[in-house]
Amino acid sequence: MRDLTNDILELIRRTSSSLPKDVEERLRAAVEKEAPGSAARGALETILKNIELSRANSTPICQDTGTPIFYVHYPEVCCSTRKIREQIRAALAEATKRSYMRPNAVDAVYDNNTGDNLGGDDFPYIHFEEVEADKPLVIELMLKGGGCENVGRQYSLPDNNLGAGRDLAGVRKVVLDAVQKAQGQGCAPGILGVAIGGNRGLSYTKSKEVLFDKLGARNADPKLAELEERLTEEANQMGIGPMGFGGQTTVIDTKITGLHRLPASYFVSVSYMCWAYRRRKMTVWEDRVEYD
């Protein structure tokens, strides 16, 4: 297996500095919906200028370069996951030196910042998934900032305060509540990742995993697809708007995944992704690396 450190470094550079086109297109469309001269429109115009500038100069879109979340899809009989892990960590330390990434790993007990984005075995977070032998090696990266991570919520249904029972009607209520509570704190307009079911940990993990999908891609289950669209539409009725300044676009898209749960538990986890929705992927072919 060849050394991919430099290719992963390029993946990190692209992810931190170049917002995916599908996200940028949605933000461009959102500008047109806000009144000329409004704070909401001003916010979106600044956001769009920032997107262009970051891409042109290879500087971070947001100074909070977030939790690096890697998903590695490796074909059987291809690679050493141990070596891939080492290469990802080396690339991340180099990316930090080059200011593509802010040093973001802080020891929670002793409060010191490691300075290179490497902390223990779990920072960065790397998930490995084996795929068939004829598939290429694919590495996905998502950078999720702390501001939006802090406004994520998990509900245990039934929730009496919201009158939310153990069904999709209850799911709808708690997700709308999460959007209202987030206000502009998570850097609206945001994207919602929702997991229904699972245990507490899995539910949160899966609510982030759905955010790797393209905007507009709907769940295959028509019941969930309908709820995804309805939640986006109803969240926008609340008028929180870009940055919480008030306005038309609060949520750009909603993605839901349904899991299995224990009879006793019914968790709904909402991961809020800020507008700086940084996710990229690299595919390793025999003779080249392709970036998406």
């Binding site: 704070a39 970051s54 200011s99 990434m101 802010r102 206000q183 502009g184 929180i240 919480g244």
Partner: protein, 208 residues
């Protein structure tokens, strides 16, 4: 659009109202979670002893902050090896985490503005009226764009907090912000929170 250069007078603070866009110039200091906690504990509540060099930092900060602005920001900074610091990315961080500390810090150091995102709560709003000072909202995530308005890094304090948490003295030019909490009790955040809650209650009452 109004342009303001620090130091800012109380009269000017009183002129600023919610909704007004402003271009800020002059000297300001970044400070976020570790900095606010440290300032409160070491110099205001005095529940911990100053360490070596802390008193000198305190004297420097008193001068820098008087009439000036605190920016809730954890920047990406280049030139760490050579100490030729340059701000590469410097958008605002979420302000509400400083809610327990903000008003007391502003009062103690006579700070006239705080820049952040997401707005702050009732204790800070009361401080806005009493000190007085205003809350300026920057555009969250617009980090490369805002970094361009940082002309010069004047110095850094408490680097042991790490790059994001250290206090960076900076000189800015035409930093774009919007007043969202003023010294007359106005808060855009309180208004939007209330109106969105009314809509939410209506949505929750609808059948599925």
């Amino acid at each position: 659009m109004r342009s303001i250069t620090t130091p800012i007078s109380d009269d000017l603070v009183r002129e600023l109202k919610v909704g007004e866009p402003v271009l800020l110039s002059g000297v300001m200091v970044t400070g976020r979670d570790a900095a606010h906690k440290w300032l409160i504990e070491t110099f205001i509540k005095k529940t911990r002893e100053p360490k070596d060099g802390d008193l000198q930092v305190y004297e420097d900060l008193k001068k820098l902050l008087n009439g000036s602005v605190i920016y809730h920001c954890g920047p990406v900074v280049s030139g760490l090896d050579t100490k030729e610091y340059k701000f590469v990315a410097a958008g605002p961080t979420t302000s509400i985490r400083e809610e327990p500390y903000q008003a007391d810090v502003m009062k103690h150091f006579n700070v006239k503005g705080v820049i952040g995102k997401g707005g702050m709560g009732a204790k800070t709003l009361k401080g806005c009226q009493e000190v007085p000072f205003v809350y300026f909202h920057a555009i969250g995530g617009a980090a490369s764009y805002i970094a361009q308005s940082v002309q010069k890094v004047l110095g850094v304090y408490k680097m042991e907090f790490g790059v994001p948490e250290a206090m960076w003295g900076i000189e800015v030019k035409d930093f774009p912000v919007v007043v969202t909490m003023d010294s007359h009790g106005g808060s855009q955040h309180a208004v939007i929170d209330e109106s969105s809650k009314t809509v939410l209650d209506d949505l929750l009452a609808r059948p599925y």
